[in-house]
Amino acid sequence: MSAWPVVLPVILGGIATLAIYSFLVKENPFYRFFEHLYIGIATGFGIVFGVQRFLWPEFFRPMLGYDREVFADGAYDRPWRSWYLFYLLPFAFGMLYYFIYSRKRQWLSRVVIAWSLGVSGGFALKGFFAQYMPQIIGSFKPLVAVHTVERGLLINFHDMAGHLPDDAQIVKGHIDLYRLGPSYVRLVIKDKDGKLSEVRGRVTDVNEDPSTGSSTLEVDGQERVIRSSDVVLREDLAPPSDVADAYEGHGGEHQYLAHRVLESWEQGSVPWSEWVVEGTAAAAETNTGMDLLVRENVTVSDPYRGEKWTVGKRESIGFKSCELSPETLRSWFDRPESEFGIILWRNAGVGGSFLHRFASSKYADAARRPKLVIEYRVPNEEKPKELVLQNGLSGYSGTEEYVAVSDSGPPTQPGPEFLLGASARKPGGGLSLNWWSSSGILANWIFAVTLICVMTYFLFSLEHNKPGIYQASMVGRWLMMLCFGAFFGSTIMARMALLVERMQFLIEKWLPAIFGQG
């Protein structure tokens, strides 16, 4: 007998299910009874919970003073105050709604309705911007693979020649870039309304999302999602004194290229894609006909989860090193007028990631700034010497490093990666494999064509029989039908899921309960 409280609802549930589905055979009193029963139960639920979860705790309890603490001796922590009865005011105001049933005093109900509409309107206005502005902003998508340079690191060598003796024989050299680990970061974030704010904190994880370029950062003990488009450089911000590292851009999977820059950044006509040569770094070095200086591919799915960097021979703590050949270095010193620095550039279209986890010249800790280390020999000295070129260290007073944002201007624009589709161009000039992705060019074209055609279809002030208008509206109608088809398919799926769940219930619970096996 003790099983009945468990079994009875199952049996009743099965009967109710069959009763509701009996409508498929034909309309019948059995179905109608259970339909009304369901509506009745749902209403009952609403009433009970309305009283239990709202009227009692939010109205009656505080008004009657039942929310006061009671001590062991029966005394209350505070006396009941007569002003608690003020709770009756909003209650009475709400009760005016019921005058809707009075012909004579119906106008009183309109006061409450007007109030409700006003509040709802305010909510709707506030909610509209919060909900739809990101949609509207996200609708502006490029229709061509925008040719851009992503955030990288630029070191200029205009005047570095003076730091190396003329007769110095370069042995070897490398660029060291401090790799940012899960340490503190400093970001300048642009909010949705364009407000700039500084955020500091520890990177805990990276959300690899090419379509949004968002990262999850722990900031002051709190996590927040930051989109790459929100990260901006702010020149006027003083370097933080308590934060050692900084952070530029976003991403997850990394593939970096270091390039020699042969044209001035200000010219804005540098054909970046032409710099890339497929092959290993060594092969690239031998390819003297190209402008490529060093090419290092680094693929790390998530550096915070233990994967090691594979670039360079100096796998020292925190540093990533790009080896440079003596000939290349020599050329920098011999022909400084034709050198405009090095850009560390993520290989566009690879991995769909936007993260550059490297320290730059903006960092408070000079030891972690990028540096060029050159080992050289002077003819009369036995021991090789080391020249360290690093902004903020003695021995290098040249042009400071920059974080390169674009090839056409100062680093004040947001990262180009936020232009969806921008990463769709391969270094070689063609479209990358993800061009068809939701953030790719094809999707953008479909979006734009659909938008224009459907708008044309609904623009009734234009006669649809005119050439161009007719075709566009027809295409719009077809595209809408395709969308409706998708909606309809989804609807079927939802209904079928309900049926599956009920069948499951009938087979796995109801039948065993009926036959005493439950």
Partner: protein, 309 residues
Amino acid sequence: MAGFTALLAKLDRRVIYAAVALALVFPLVLKWRLPPAEMQAARKFYDAVEALPNDDSSMVLVACDWGPSTKAENEPQTEVLIEHLLRRRVHFALISAIDQAEPFLRELPERVARRLSGENPREKWEYGKDWVNLGYRPAMGTMIQKMATAQDIRQTLGVDVRGTPLNEVPCMRNVKNIRNVKLLAEFTGLVGALDSWLQFFQTSDFRPPMAHGCTSITIPEAYIYLDSGQLVGLHEGIAGAAAHSALLSRKFKDRGPDIAIVTNTALAVAHVAIIFLIVLGNLGMVLAKRKTAAAGSTGVPPVSMGGAA
């Protein structure tokens, strides 16, 4: 052929209902499990949960804005998330703006905790320590705004569903405000529920990452939020829950099949049955048209389409 055409034309719709029901029965009775398709949006959901910190000051808010009418899809979605959170020992709070969700808020985590304890007898998952049930909270829009802007969310909400002050609930001890909410996971099939959370669960400078589980009907609407980055992950109907479940199974090898995989298998079979019937119906229509055309040329009256499904 003429007989077949006539049969299709006169086929009673109830025969089709019965055929679909029968098609569903087989995988359920035979316990047939098809591996679910990998879904990118569900993968993102999974990754978002995987990335969550499981310290005392972090909390996932699970908004179960669903009731019996969308239980079939929203329940497996919620269940798989709860399981994931419990396995990772990430604290979570269940809340709903739908009164009919109240029984599920209580039953679901307890059921999952029992299952997990069965799998790992040495480990224990307890109410209060691992999760808290905030219960049904009326006035959705106002309630969400109150929570979002609360200096102390525990004071604003007061007590849990059992009447325990939230200050005394262990997993809420270090949870103060919206900034402690590391993920908002919202499950619903209702129009407006997702919108309310999207609109109001944020402050002027903070919006927690939000993931969503929707019914199949609302998938097209939910995609736009995924695309714009307003959602970090999505369970697309039962298929999304099954994909998340499959990822969990990949990580926890001893994990048995859950409700999502089973339902998804039956759903797949149902879809195949429906597609077959659609093809059959169209075939009947084409044949009938041909016959009509032929009859028109010979003077034979056309076959009536009355009674066709």
